[in-house]
């Protein structure tokens, strides 16, 4: 997985907001995601492309609409692999515990 693409995608507040929206309600169309934002549809399209390239968003075409779905896997991966490094020992222990709870299935 491309850490860098994910970090760069998360660097923009508008893109984080789009992820928030998808988190609140998954599977929205481009039009729905544009609604209420102070940006043109094309700007939103570009942001969604960036999120897609970072695998943070997946899409499905349905007729003339395009549905967008959030994918939390890369975020979790980064929390695990990168952020985890800088955490206190107590958090490290929890990470181990989590791995055990999840059955070490990776």
């Amino acid at each position: 997985m491309d850490d860098d693409a994910v970090f760069r995608a998360l660097a923009d507040a508008n893109r984080r907001r789009l992820l928030d929206r998808l988190h609140a309600r998954n599977g929205q169309t481009l039009g729905q995601l544009c609604d209420g934002l102070a940006m043109t549809r094309q700007a939103v399209t570009k942001h969604l492309h960036v999120l897609e390239e970072a695998s943070l968003v997946a899409t499905r075409r349905q007729g003339r609409e395009k549905l967008h779905f959030i994918n939390a896997v890369p975020i979790n991966a980064i929390a695990e692999r990168w952020i985890g490094k800088f955490q206190q020992p107590v958090l490290g222990a929890l990470s181990d515990l989590k791995r055990r709870l999840e059955g070490d299935s990776q």
Copy 2:
């Protein structure tokens, strides 16, 4: 705390590498941090300034040297407040557990 500054600071691979270095050995001088990097000292200085503005790095002047110290607090804060949102239930439960282990001292 300024989420945005932290996310933007983390968006650059060179800056993440600088954090890695400080994590490996804390309290390095600018010169030490430059060592072995394919960048001029001034470029590194700029990156360190970005990290400093995001409170990811703190500095202390010592004679003609400037020592740099990593500060993991903003990273943990983001892991808690933002990334946590997107995590699976099992991870949410762990976050609660962690809070209890830490004595809920916030």
